[in-house]
Subunit: 255 residues, 2 copies
Amino acid sequence: MLSQDRQERILDFLDREGSGSIKQLSQVIGTSESTIRRDLKQLDANGLLTKVYGGATRNDRRVRTEEPDMLKKHNLFAEEKERIGRYAASLVSPGDFVFIDGGTTTEAVIRYLEEKDAVYMTNGLFQAQLLTGRGFETLVVGGTVRPVTEAIVGEEAVKQIRDCNFSLGFFGTNGITAENGFTTPNIIEAGFKNAALEQTLNPFVLADPSKFGRIYPKTFAHIDEAQIITTELYDKSYKNHMRIKEVDVDLYRDL
Amino acid sequence: MLSQDRQERILDFLDREGSGSIKQLSQVIGTSESTIRRDLKQLDANGLLTKVYGGATRNDRRVRTEEPDMLKKHNLFAEEKERIGRYAASLVSPGDFVFIDGGTTTEAVIRYLEEKDAVYMTNGLFQAQLLTGRGFETLVVGGTVRPVTEAIVGEEAVKQIRDCNFSLGFFGTNGITAENGFTTPNIIEAGFKNAALEQTLNPFVLADPSKFGRIYPKTFAHIDEAQIITTELYDKSYKNHMRIKEVDVDLYRDL
DNA sequence: AAACTATTCCAAACTCTTTCAAACTATGTT
DNA sequence: AACATAGTTTGAAAGAGTTTGGAATAGTTT
């Protein structure tokens, strides 16, 4: 068994039981006490549980304040996303009412946010937790949760968003082309994105370079309806059609 | 048993009973008098209780304003919560529209849910993730996120919930007494709970035994407005005033 | 004085750290 | 593809340290 799996199981166990002894854990998971000890030591160092004499007790996993480094391993364009997130976060001014779209791209924005004198609204469950965990005033859109992306969408969500007037908004997308605009695979999600974008004075679409040139079934905005924040484009031809902000590597190298 | 767990149980016993002798405590907790003495000495040194000749007392201002520490709450009464959750989950029938309150108590319910032919709505961020993760049709209430509990509350949330008609609802509470009913520390949260409860045909309050006899600043429902699901009660006098379902140990021993 | 409670001390049981060899992984070389 | 090598992970064991329960002794209450 991989150590990741084992440690995940330890946390699951503590989730259910609240606490556990070394012996208990080694039996449930089927490994030696030595290994459990080493796992607990690691998990404690990462702040995921509290080691106590004889075992461990759970730390609340809801307030996950994952470090930016943690995520880098997972995703190919992780570094780009971080850079995009850092720039996007710098755009928020005091008094703004900011919409933050669900999906992985916008998560990085939240980690770099600093403006406490602004109100944030999101339709992403994880986004809401991150925002709350970091101490920002957070509103959540009500509606149906879409399983894959954990984003709140649907008729009710659209109805609610129609009453909101955002000064700033950060959106994710799956595909971008000059002709088809911003596209996503899911029709209901596209409907919500479209509604949210219409309520936003300054909408920004965050996109790593992989999104360019791709087309998905449903367009939620035309190419000139939002400004794009991305890292360096390989295909410079896009520049002719779009309002693009390239977040350069050098721009933040010394931060 | 870990010494942390033991000491929490001592404090909880004193919370409920006001005081306890060494003998009482050693019997209830199932450990030697020597150990109880040592625990009491430590807890006294930390100012968590007052050691007296023969036992200990806890300064009991019956109305508490402070929010119970989420981390601690997670550990305590884990088994009771599981049992309560398992029973509550069995109450859901096909076609139900089920409200699930935020907070730690209701999390266990979700882990035992099996009825896919029902729609679930929640105001808890973590609950929403759990429900979605387990593949249930999930709705989320929109509104402001309250930091400590990660529950969605506020005016907007109340407005939305007024349009919902739940056939079944599971609520958490901080305190229960016959006179003051179900109470919580936060006024805004109480307002939402109250609204949600009014929209529910069959409301159930889930409560481990530690909740009984405690009073918090705001009442969100009177004692006869909801049925209580709990594990075995130490103080049987409550039975006279309330509709209580005791989830017995034996009931599920062989599951 | 009798009954109860607290303190001290000790041995047994338990837990932690360190250490080491075996098993496993990853990588480079032939 | 087979092999060698270095690095990592694992389980077991030994010794140090901690916690526990009980017994003897000292103190307190009635």
